[in-house]
Amino acid sequence: MARITHGIASSHIPVLGFAADHGKTQDPIFKPAFDGYRWTREWIANEGKPDVVVLVYNDHASAFDMNVIPTFAIGCAESFRVCDEGYGPRPVPSVVGHPDLAWHIAQSLILDDFDMTIFNKMDVDHGLTVPLTMMFGEDCKEWPTTVVPLAVNVVTYPPPSGNRCWLLGEAIARAVNSYEEDLNVHVWGTGGMSHQLQGPRAGLINREWDNMFLDKLVGDTQDLRHIPHIEYLRETGSEGIEMVMWLIMRGALGRETRCLHRHYHVPVSNTALGHIVLEPVDGTVPQSPTFEADGAVTTSIDQ
């Protein structure tokens, strides 16, 4: 049976992709950011290696224009092209999907009353490719994992609530747990932390709040799911709202987590960088509200 072995959160700041693509990771301005991923790169190349990553990110006006705004999009294609965001496409490998698992998750989520939009053709932007670079390094000829892209709208208001995201994470865990093939699955939440890219208030960074958020991803508290959008905006800047995506990852890890690695650095470009690696201590998620299950879909992912 497939199981969620770990959750990773990471900022997906585009300039880190730029630094990686142009041999600048050891430049003084970028080195501290990359240094904080050294532990993760070592670990993920060895015992931390996933077979599939359910990679939660947002599209930044790249694949989706103003004509289509999906709250939750899941990519079920064989592969996903890297798009040109205006500087030319990043020189990184295409992203290989996992259509079997992706379709299984998509079907499960819809049966669990999540109103998914399925994409069978979708380009992916820095939101998805920068985290791959940060975890797997600058020199990948191909990515050492398959990916199920899960794009969340956090650009046009309203995005989904933090609680809805947490619930989606729980439903993803149930979906993975009901997939029959033996697979190590990661769930990654990306974006954040504090940043505001617009207006006279740009450059806002709230180190204290960000660290509160990192603290509460660990253990068994569920406080984070109840933070309203306005609090992200006031406390962490207009683009800090991206952190709701981390709650999908957290929800998927179940009742209690432990922290394997944590990294926080200011600044990268306009942004506070945050990164954390978690594993479930008690991975139990609530039963499906729609299946009359006798435990079939609700399995502890305790290790």
């Binding site: 006006a61 103003m66 046009t156 504090s194 617009q198 208030r201 740009a202 600044p267």
Partner: protein, 133 residues
């Protein structure tokens, strides 16, 4: 949060911030679609060859076109632009996010970068227009 009107009203209480709600999305629809057209290399070339001609092919307001020509990003936000769409404009100019964003703050790029190196802008005093907290 008690209803959608409260939910939306709170967004107007954040200093120096335009939250991209339906109202802004509708106002900026053509502007943002224009910006996104610059994701294609040939469009970037055509745009830079003659910005006015390129802009006139889009049903945008005169103010929106002028603000694009001026690269006045605060004004573009006021006119319904969204920063991720507008990023295609400054990317096509070869500008970084830091550079473009700094132009909206009333600081020079150097001042802005110094502020960021120093830990960024504090949230104290810019959480709420009403509360000054």
């Amino acid at each position: 949060m008690t209803d959608i009107h409260d939910y939306l009203a709170e967004f107007d209480d954040i200093p120096g911030t335009r939250v991209y709600t339906a109202k802004r999305a509708r106002q900026g629809y053509q502007l943002n679609q224009f910006a996104m057209s610059l994701m294609q290399a040939e469009n970037r070339e055509r745009f830079h060859a003659d910005e006015r001609v390129y802009l006139d092919a889009w049903p945008m307001s005169a103010e929106q076109k002028q603000a694009v020509l001026d690269r006045d990003y605060n004004r573009l936000l006021d006119l319904g632009g969204n920063i991720y769409f507008l990023a295609k404009v400054f990317a096509s100019d070869g500008l970084s996010f830091v550079h473009a964003v700094s132009t909206m703050t009333g600081m020079s790029v150097e001042e802005y970068q110094a502020m960021m190196m120093d830990g960024g802008r504090s949230p104290d005093g810019v959480r709420s227009i009403g509360d000054k907290c």
